[in-house]
Amino acid sequence: MDFRFTEEQDMMADVVRGLLADHCQPADLRRLMASNEARDSARWAHIVELGLGGILVPEDKGGLGLAPVDFVQLAEAAGYAALPEPLVENAGVALPLLAALVPADHPVLTRALAGEITVALAHPANPMVADADSAGAILTVAGDTVHLTTPEAAGLVHQPSSDPFRRLHTLANVAGETLATGAQPALDAAFDRGALFAAAQMVGIAQRCVDLAVDYAKERQQFGKPIGSYQAIKHHLATCQVKIEFARPVLYAAAADLPNGDLHSRARISQAKLAATEAADLATRTAIQVHGAMGYSWEVDVHFFLKRAVALASWWGDAALHRDRVAARVMTQPLGPEFTFARES
């Protein structure tokens, strides 16, 4: 029993956090928004250079062969930065799915692992497809069959999001080259990764909102003192931090357990998604409140995180769906303290 990240995992997270601190500040986001581009190509090039595309792809398929627990802190960092580029959906969800369905020398997989293209995923759990316009290939799903298509062939219909960095589309034409049939287990695993890493991003968003609000509360003076010296402000922010601190261990346990692929691990992932959603919901709203009227302005950066949190709350399954997955474990499996780390036997 050791509930700690390894030094390597922490180091990799530090590298990504550092890169995003350098290249993905709110000022960078605003610049990207003004440019009307899908991606900041310089930032994306830095991310590609880290070689993270294949992080969850098995080594025999050309990847790094690492596990969700190696990626979870990276997804958290992406949330903390409100990263526009599809690091999480590409490397965390779509590429491991593609790798599970095709041989190592499939050209789409090799090009994606080389960082030449990204792959978007039209998973039935989501009504829209994220980042389809900038992708080199799109995976579509019909029943348990996965098809491969392109943005050009798919007939993309833009579905503008309130989050200026979420590029959502629906597809007029989902037909394409059949990659695999009987892919339900791989699609279920992709769903689990999607939900887990959405949760990770929301924990990052929640922490960022607390940090932004703390910075502001230290500076902003009213009645001759920083507003952060008042208990009304302190207690709001402390309550947010408590939510975050108790979402994290659930998130990390869910990441470690995801490969088990059983009723217990699915419930833990759903629990993580629910806890992270709650933390992000509270922290985003609190950050706006702490900023006062400024918090309702376009000028203050909190709204970027608010919009991402609203989106991710129901992306990869809404609260009702995830509560049902928790219920499936709670109402049918043995309960009690000796089953915290249980697996289905």
């Binding site: 050791d2 509930f3 402390a238 219920a327």
Partner: protein, 387 residues
């Protein structure tokens, strides 16, 4: 990250389970806050635990422990609550003072106090708060005047858990009469039957007398009873509070067993309950699990040499609020029968939820109110200005 028990840990769990099965009293004991009889029954249970060397598994073998790490302690606690073993009457001693004594006590003090604590021969009460020193604990006025090899204690302590029937108390006293606030305080032990000590029970909202006022009038104790240096009382106290809020006061297993019972209560009444009740029950289970995972994470860190920090305050807020929510859900499921006492003929199946609900309301107050904990989080963790 490795979220599996070792074979050794699994074997340890089975050892505890077997022992608990053979030794836990079949009928629940009378509450230790209810009567001398109940208190002594719990003292006997402490003796039984100690004879099996299960009293404090994390303590060194020299003091009746097994020298095990915190993760193994969590496993012990899981089996303890699973077996519904009696509550620990000496928790002020074994969970709070014990670890502090091991850190700050002299060898002589450890030899004098720890074995008697482990065996239940001496049950401890806590004597920190005063009528004018609650959340503002540094306003302590009780004094300890040095007189040769003795201290002479005077003052008025209050909200002292277990003090009605306990043998010993550890309290915060001003050893430097000219000092202010958190300076000049010392942590000193005194017997509750010493001449000059008067204990006045305080009835709680549940009718029990779990706490008391202690009046001290020229109570003479040897200077040997001071833990740490003169003037070090505040920092030792805060270290103790860290153990209390942080890890040992409320085992996750306690809430996981409560969540399990809540699910069973829900399932027994499911047909007449709205869907929203299921969600509240699931929330209770998830929070108990989150608390357990968080404590395992902290324990892993401490086993690897880390120190406990602000998570003490974070934990205290979380479990105390979870406890209230869980009991409120149970009362909602019970409906109109929730108010019945256990003696009522219609009370079958009602269990102890109402008592638990009343007790849960004390959670955000004791061991440092949640308002104070939120200040600590905001100032020490988030770095917001003190004033």
């Amino acid at each position: 990250m490795k979220l599996d028990y070792t074979d050794e840990q699994n074997a340890f769990r089975m050892d505890v389970r077997d022992w608990m099965q053979a030794n836990v009293p079949a009928a629940p004991l009378v509450s230790f806050d209810h009567s001398r009889e109940g208190f002594e029954a719990h003292r006997d249970w402490e003796r039984t635990l100690n004879e099996g060397r299960w009293g404090m598994v994390t303590w060194p073998e020299a003091y009746g422990g097994r020298g095990l790490d915190l993760v193994t302690w969590l496993i012990f606690e899981e089996e303890y609550y699973r077996a519904e073993a009696p509550l620990r009457v000496n928790q002020n001693g074994i969970f709070l003072l014990g670890p502090t004594l091991m850190e700050y006590g002299s060898d002589e003090q450890k030899a004098r106090f720890l074995p008697a604590m482990a065996s239940g021969e001496e049950i401890w009460a806590q004597a920190w708060s005063e009528p004018q020193a609650g959340s503002d604990l540094a306003a302590v006025r009780a004094t300890a005047r040095r007189d040769g090899d003795d201290y002479v204690l005077s003052g008025h302590k209050i909200w002292s858990s277990r003090a009605v029937f306990a043998d010993m108390a550890f309290g915060l006293f001003r050893t430097d009469p000219d000092s202010e606030r958190h300076k000049g305080l010392s942590l000193i032990f005194f017997p509750l039957d010493a001449p000059g000590v008067k204990v006045q029970p305080i009835a709680q909202i549940d009718g029990e007398t779990g706490f008391a006022e202690i009046f001290l009038e020229d109570v003479r104790v040897p200077a040997f009873n001071r833990l740490g240096d003169e003037g070090q009382g505040w920092s030792i106290c805060m270290a103790t509070a860290g153990f209390e809020r942080g890890l040992m006061l409320r085992s996750p297993a306690r809430f996981q067993v409560a969540a399990k019972k809540l699910v069973e209560l829900y399932q027994a009444n499911e047909a007449r309950l709205p869907a929203a009740t299921r969600d509240a029950v699931l929330q209770a289970w998830m929070e108990a699990e989150a608390y357990a995972l968080s404590i395992y994470r902290t324990a892993s860190r401490l086993v690897a040499g880390g120190q406990i920090g602000s998570e003490a305050s974070i934990n205290k807020i979380f479990w105390s609020e979870m406890d209230i929510a869980m009991h409120r859900t149970a009362l909602a499921i019970l409906g109109a029968r929730a108010e019945l006492t256990r003696d009522a003929p219609e009370a079958a199946g009602v269990g102890r939820w109402l008592d638990g609900f009343f007790f849960s309301l004390a959670g955000p107050i004791y061991a440092g109110s949640n308002e104070i904990q939120r200040n600590i989080i905001a100032e020490r963790m988030l770095g917001l200005p003190r004033r």
